[in-house]
Amino acid sequence: MPIATSSQTIGPYWHLLHDKAWSDLTRFGATGDIIHITGTITDGGGNLITDACVEIWQASPPVSETFEGFGRAATNAEGRYTFKTLRPTPLPGPNGPAGNSQQAPHIALTILARGLTKALTTRIYFHGDPGHETDPVLSLIEPQTRRATLIARETKPSVWTLDIQLQGANETVFLEI
């Protein structure tokens, strides 16, 4: 049986693909609850990571003519990523619509960079949303104090901030999917 091709780092020169427009998921005319998501990415030495490719994907709101659900951003000289998108709503759990579990609103986030041999995946949740206690992903994370590393806070109206640490005392929880 064929085996999935191995990952290799995206390296420092992936910007040859980069198109700044891709960080705005509303660019095809999406309307609704528009939010900005931003944050810094730091390494285990406290250094800002200025060469990362950050991608987000959300299954809610559903993909449409005006909303593709996908965005890509480069971290800037201050190690910061920023997206403009629509705020997601709750989603069915891992068993699909037939199951009875529900997921709190979330966006999947991937970090690709020099020094990462394969993608790092995590999620963005929104502080104050209902359903965090029973969310099938958040509730897997132990100790519970680490769950906060996935929860963005509204730092200005409609601007949600989630800083990410790849390594160290407050290391972000990453997911194997």
């Binding site: 091709t5 020169y13 041999t117």
Partner: protein, 252 residues
């Protein structure tokens, strides 16, 4: 619209993917997380993923030239199939490509290697697989270049690939290498992959049948994306270490 396919994708085969931490690759030291990732059951967020329309993301299958001229170097065509782990073609999926020019220099401000830039080389491209999962593009064979991972470190010739596939969980970033490259055995990035057979699958083979007479050499590079589990709606909560029992990373 048809209902989304919510069947989860199969877990990785032990040893076929690099670990995050790799002593031989210096940049991993401060970037690889110390905690093991938390294994989750896949939901609609992971089993579906972005799809790219060719009217919004037009293909660019010949990066060996620009309107004002042709790039320096050995012109090559690269062809291959994108399939899943069941051998089924992955049709109409987007592939992004980027690479150094024939002298081993990227058209990127971060690349200060003392080798010439080539104004006629595009450096990146985009192709889509056809209905049979086949892709093909034309480029220039990239040059090797030095980097500072260790004394006298050189990257082998390689072309970077980015694929999405049918779900968020099938995202793949990889590099295609060239058959017979003497630098492969010294390259920490290539050798981060524990399984030798898996490494070898990243090496494109020269194929005379793909060569365009009097025009370009031909290489074949096939890609496999994760396949969906045989059991629909499987809610697999098995800890990652139970799947990884066959791991032996001791030599890497």
């Amino acid at each position: 619209m048809s209902a989304p396919n919510l069947t989860p994708f199969r877990p990785e085969i032990a040893g076929t993917q690099p670990d995050y931490a790799a002593n031989i690759y210096g940049s991993t030291a401060l970037r690889a997380p110390r905690h093991a990732p938390v294994r989750i059951a896949q939901s609609i967020t992971e089993t579906t993923g972005p799809q790219f329309r060719q009217d919004r993301y037009p293909g660019n299958p010949d990066i060996s030239k620009v309107p004002t001229g042709e790039a320096q170097g050995q012109r090559i065509v690269v062809e291959g199939h994108v399939r899943d782990e069941d051998g089924k073609p992955v049709p109409h999926t987007m592939i992004e490509l980027w690479q150094a020019n024939s002298c081993g220099r990227y058209h990127h401000e971060g690349d200060q290697h003392d080798a010439p830039l080539d104004q006629h080389f595009q450096g990146s491209g985009r192709v889509f697989t056809n209905a049979e999962g086949k892709y093909r593009y034309t480029t220039i064979k990239p040059g090797a270049y030095p980097w500072r991972n260790h004394h006298n470190a050189w990257r082998p010739n390689h072309i970077h690939y980015s694929l999405f596939g049918p779900g968020f969980a099938t995202r793949l970033i990889t590099q295609m290498y060239f058959e017979g490259d003497p630098l492969l055995k010294y390259d920490p990035i290539y050798n981060c992959i524990p399984d030798e057979a898996a490494r070898t699958r990243l090496v494109a083979s020269f194929e005379l049948g793909l060569t365009e007479p009097e025009w370009a050499l031909g290489y074949r590079f096939d890609i496999i994306l994760r396949g969906r589990s045989a059991t629909p709606f499987e809610n697999d909560q098995t800890p990652a270490h139970a799947h990884a029992h066959a791991h032996d990373h001791g030599n890497h």
